[in-house]
């Protein structure tokens, strides 16, 4: 009996090893038609355009098949990482924010610098500041911009008029005094998004940086940061800054602003459609757009990266080139309501009188976002950006809700960030 069990057990091990050799083997150039996979971040509403991309590329490149997979933002990183582990990653991936720094540092993404050097006209398509922020890591380029929203200040003109304010705030002192004036009952004066460093202009406008220039140490534990955090905590306790700024992510803050429960919203361009779609008050005449005081803006760019394990890098590059050309970039900017990063596409829309007439607030938000593209903040350029962000924000939140003092929160965050950076 024991012998039989041993025999069956050995047979099982052999079967498992055999299967894994059959399925797990990668790296062989497949004979026959070339096939690439595109993975996008939460774009089911953009399916018509994406299907057109695929058709156009396949028609122009016989023998090439493009498959498309779309995942929600919360699922995409997990999906991508499990596919990588399984040896079946997509070839082209649409990534948001600074998530790709870690992938680039780990060699998961293809260095696109040689491609840009060979075809400088592709590199020159993009607005310089946007490309540098979106794509440059360690002196190499990894991403081709797809859509490039950054933060601006949206404001409710109706509530501004009722408070006797005719213009948006231009300085931090004005922002605070306006917010206090606009706070009435359950309506807060100010609301911000908080993910991916989007709240950082509140600190940067007071001279606070995240890391030292060499990226090796935390730089945010300063008297100015302590004072800023104390002020934000006081204003939150008073209801001047909506608590949802610090507890919500996307749906809640946009819902609050759309419902008229906040007078100013600091958010990136896609928020416009998000809050407008759930609002009775928000229309082209009642929404104002302005730069954040100090003209500080946080990019939350989306771009296409090519996975280093792709079997068809040139095919993938050709596809990415095509879908970010002037024609498709214009479509992206128009449909998604945000800058594409493609200079020709974005500027032509801004200058198009029909676009301004039909989408005045979108056109205005494009102008504002472009005007602040040289003043970007909230960029760490660290492979450990996700951990640094989490360490800073979780401690800041404790101070904002009175769980610990601003001094202690920033000290704890600094300790955590320095530990993360030292472990690299």
């Amino acid at each position: 009996m024991k012998k039989n069990i041993r025999f069956v057990f050995l047979l099982m091990i052999l079967l498992v090893v055999g299967f894994s050799l059959l399925w797990g083997g990668g790296g062989k150039e497949s004979a026959g038609p070339k096939s690439i996979t595109l993975l996008t971040w939460n774009l089911p509403h953009y399916s018509d355009t994406i299907n057109q991309w695929i058709k156009e590329y396949q028609d122009a490149n016989k023998g090439v098949t493009v498959s498309w997979v779309d995942k929600k933002g919360t699922e995409l990183p997990t999906y991508f990482q499990t596919q990588l582990a399984a040896g079946t990653p997509p070839d082209v991936i649409d990534i948001q924010g600074a998530l790709w720094y870690q992938y680039a540092a780990d060699g998961i993404l293809l260095d696109l610098t040689p491609y840009f050097q060979k075809e400088p006209e592709i590199k020159n398509r993009f607005e310089k500041n946007i490309l540098e922020a979106a794509s440059n890591f360690g002196g190499k380029y990894y991403m081709v911009p797809f859509y490039t929203p950054s933060t601006v200040l949206f404001y409710n003109k109706i509530l501004f008029k009722e408070a006797g304010l005719s213009e948006p705030p231009k300085t931090m002192d004005e922002l605070i005094s306006y917010a206090k004036k606009l706070t009435k009952g359950t309506v807060s004066g100010f609301l911000t998004l908080n993910f991916d460093w989007l709240y950082w202009p509140l600190f940067r406008a007071n001279g606070v940086e995240i890391l030292t220039p060499d990226g090796k140490k935390a730089a945010f534990n300063t008297p100015a940061a302590v004072q800023t955090l104390k002020t934000l905590a006081e204003l939150t306790a008073l209801g001047v800054i909506s608590k949802v700024s610090w507890t919500g992510r996307w749906a809640e803050p946009n819902g609050e602003f759309g419902a008229g429960n906040a007078s100013m919203l600091h958010a990136h361009l896609p928020a416009l459609r998000a809050f407008q779609s759930q609002s009775k008050w928000a229309n082209d005449q009642t929404i104002g757009v302005a730069p954040f005081p100090g003209k500080w803006s946080v990019p939350n760019y989306h771009g296409f990266c090519i996975v280093s394990k792709t079997k068809h890098p040139d095919v993938a590059w050709g596809f990415v080139k095509m879908i970010t050309n002037d024609k498709w970039a214009t479509t992206t900017a128009t449909v998604l309501g945000t800058l594409s990063g493609n200079s020709n596409a974005d500027n032509s829309l801004i200058k198009d009188p029909n676009f301004s007439k039909n989408h005045p607030v979108v056109a205005e938000s494009f102008k504002v976002a472009l005007s602040v593209s040289g003043n970007l903040t909230g960029i760490t350029r660290s492979a450990k950006d996700a951990q640094i962000k989490d360490a800073v924000y979780s401690n800041i939140q404790k101070a904002l809700f009175g769980q610990m003092s601003a001094e202690q929160a920033l000290a704890e965050a600094e300790k955590a960030v320095n530990r993360i950076l030292a472990a690299q």
Binding site: I5, T78, I108, D390
Partner: protein, 298 residues
């Protein structure tokens, strides 16, 4: 061994082989691979690098790991005993020959089969500071003037999540305890009644001792649930505010899929496994061994 017995043995083993193969592929091999990964640094591509105990060391120095460990213990001690206690009372009630007891049993069990994600979404709405039903009731009764941000409060977030999971798991514990109550011989209660025992004495000297195996099972299930609940917390709070509701399982997920630190995440699962094993062994010892089993002496 005779030829017939050998043949029979081989047949048995061959019938078991497919299930054992699936068990090996989906349980044994991942557990072993996880253990190996806990001593490696892996970037998802290329060959993992052996780093010894440095993943475990980094966890020991990580304050969020300890905070999530503390929250997990709070989650367990704050939830499971209450759930089992309430379930015991409910099961004693619905074990009586009441009119409509089948309806009561169904109502108690109803939340359990509902997917945890749906439960989390429903309770997230119930707890909402502005439009939630709970705040509406509290304000209507004059208990509070303003809404309480249950899920955004450092004080209330974890208790709120615990309450949700207790509510959902009650039905399962009631079923286990009811099954246990059904196995207690009726003659024991009759004999006790003849001897003039009160309800409380019958509960203390008959029901509870003979319910030990079921209570032990509930306890172990409770431990496993508290240490492995992911979906409810992920949907309701995602570990926030701050790290107030971060438990080990959610932090493991964050480490692996948000921070891309596969090695430390694997190390955490090993620590979690060892801790669960320790608790189970200690519980077994405290309950007298044999998983709370009861011996009947003639």
């Amino acid at each position: 061994m005779s030829k017939v017995n050998r043949g029979r043995g081989l047949l048995i083993v061959l019938f078991l082989a497919p299930s054992l193969l699936i068990f090996a592929i989906y349980r044994i091999i991942p557990i072993l691979w996880n253990l190996i990964l806990s001593f490696q640094r892996w970037k998802l591509i290329g060959i993992p690098k052996f780093v010894g105990f440095s993943n475990y060391q980094s966890l020991i120095q990580d304050p969020v790991f300890w905070e999530s460990f503390k929250n997990t213990l709070y989650y367990f001690f704050g939830g499971t005993p209450i759930a089992i206690g309430v379930a015991l009372v409910l099961s004693l009630l619905v074990n009586k020959p009441l009119k409509g007891r089948n309806i009561y049993r169904a109502l108690i069990f109803l939340p359990y089969p509902i997917t945890p994600v749906a439960i989390a979404i429903i309770w997230k709405w119930l707890y909402d500071e502005k439009v939630g039903l709970i705040n509406f009731i509290l304000k209507s009764l004059g208990i509070t003037r303003e809404g309480i941000g249950f899920l955004s409060s450092f004080t209330w977030a974890l208790p709120a999540v615990i309450f949700t999971t207790v509510w959902q798991s009650l039905g399962y514990y009631v079923i286990l305890l009811l099954a246990g109550l059904q196995t207690i011989p009726e003659e024991l209660y009759e004999a006790a009644e003849i001897d003039g025992a009160s309800g409380m004495r019958k509960l203390q000297w008959i029901t509870l001792p003979l319910l030990k195996p079921s209570l032990f099972l509930c306890f172990i299930v409770g431990i496993i649930n508290s240490f492995t609940t992911f979906d409810v917390i992920y949907v309701m709070t995602n570990g926030g505010p701050g790290n107030a509701t971060e438990i080990l399982v959610t932090y493991i997920y964050k480490k692996a899929f948000t921070f891309n630190e596969i090695g430390p995440a694997a190390a955490m699962t090993v620590i979690l496994f060892l801790f669960l094993l320790l608790i189970t062994m200690v519980s077994n010892k405290i309950s007298g061994g044999e998983a709370g089993g009861v011996h009947y002496y003639e």
